[in-house]
Amino acid sequence: MSDAIFDRVRSGLGELAQDAAVSHGVLVVNAAPAGVLPLVHGLKAAGFDMFLDVTAVDWPGQSPRFEVVWHFYSTSSKVRVRVKTRVAEEQPEVDSLVALYGSAAFMERECHEMYGIRFRGNDDLRPLLLYEGFVGYPLRKDYAKEQEQPLVPYREGFQ
């Protein structure tokens, strides 16, 4: 049943969803960074009215290094779609989806503080879970896992 819906979505999106396949019951669409915004416009028009998540994957040693991943859900068709794009380490920048989905604002803040992905058009990229003054992006593979940045000086005897 969902395959029929995905076929309809793919044909509706036309060229935007050229590189698309169904994986584990989810339609996965790969796009160029510049193609994400028009693609999501098309998805929203096709009934994907719920923004689920945006996150990133760090592939050290690969170029482009980062993969930004979005998930959307259609509350009418009850299916999910995943959008992926690759961005380079030198300019980890994609378009913000805040104008389309208000709930993207917080997710983009988290993705920004954890991976250092910048979202063009999101003016509020303050730290969400981390604190002001935290240096680096802790979910990148080159951030040492145990690298602490304490706000309170430790008592004597603890380095």
């Binding site: 879970l129 706000l151 309170v152 430790y154």
Partner: protein, 169 residues
């Protein structure tokens, strides 16, 4: 008019009129049975804290059942749950607002040592920030372990020196 006068008893009866003790023992005895805890509850250990402070375990037996939600009115800071680096300044502030005498209990594995967290976000034991008097292991600890911890703390308080008047008083 009732002119009946009740005579003042001057004859010693020998029934608990004078006691002789040491100041530290007396004050320690009083203090150990009037611990007002401040629950600094941040994580899942809270469930076990609720269990231990409920009727079946009755911490009122130890005088430690009345939580004060102002650090200025409490004697025992119970740090229940994981403390991360973002939380650490708040914990320190609460500790500094408590009046002397004060004691600290690290409740559960995370407060004691960071527990299974070993990463950029978690403080590996609250003793890196504030001094701790009693550590309770367990993830989460059983209520019996918490009660044992309270009793150990009571023993510690009973053996402490208690300064009533200080130079700056």
């Amino acid at each position: 008019m009732n002119d009946k006068v009740i005579p003042i008893r001057s004859e010693p009866t020998g029934a608990f009129e004078y006691i002789s003790t040491k100041k530290d023992e007396l004050v320690g005895w009083a203090r150990k049975f009037s611990l007002f805890p401040y629950p600094f509850v941040t994580a899942c250990c809270a469930m076990e804290f609720m269990a231990v402070s409920s009727t079946p375990y009755d911490t009122d037996r130890f005088g430690a059942a009345l939580p004060r939600f102002s650090p200025r009115q409490s004697d025992l800071l119970m740090v229940v749950g994981t403390i991360n680096h973002k939380q650490a300044p708040i914990l320190l502030k609460v500790y500094e607002q408590m009046c002397e005498p004060k004691w600290v209990m690290a409740f559960g594995a995370c407060a004691t040592s960071g527990g299974f967290y070993q990463n950029y976000a978690t403080v590996l034991g609250i003793d890196r920030i504030i001094p701790v008097d009693v550590y309770i292991p367990g993830c989460p600890p059983r209520p019996e372990m918490v009660i044992d911890g309270i009793m150990k703390l009571q023993d510690k308080i009973a053996r402490e020196q208690h300064f009533i008047l200080t130079k700056g008083f």
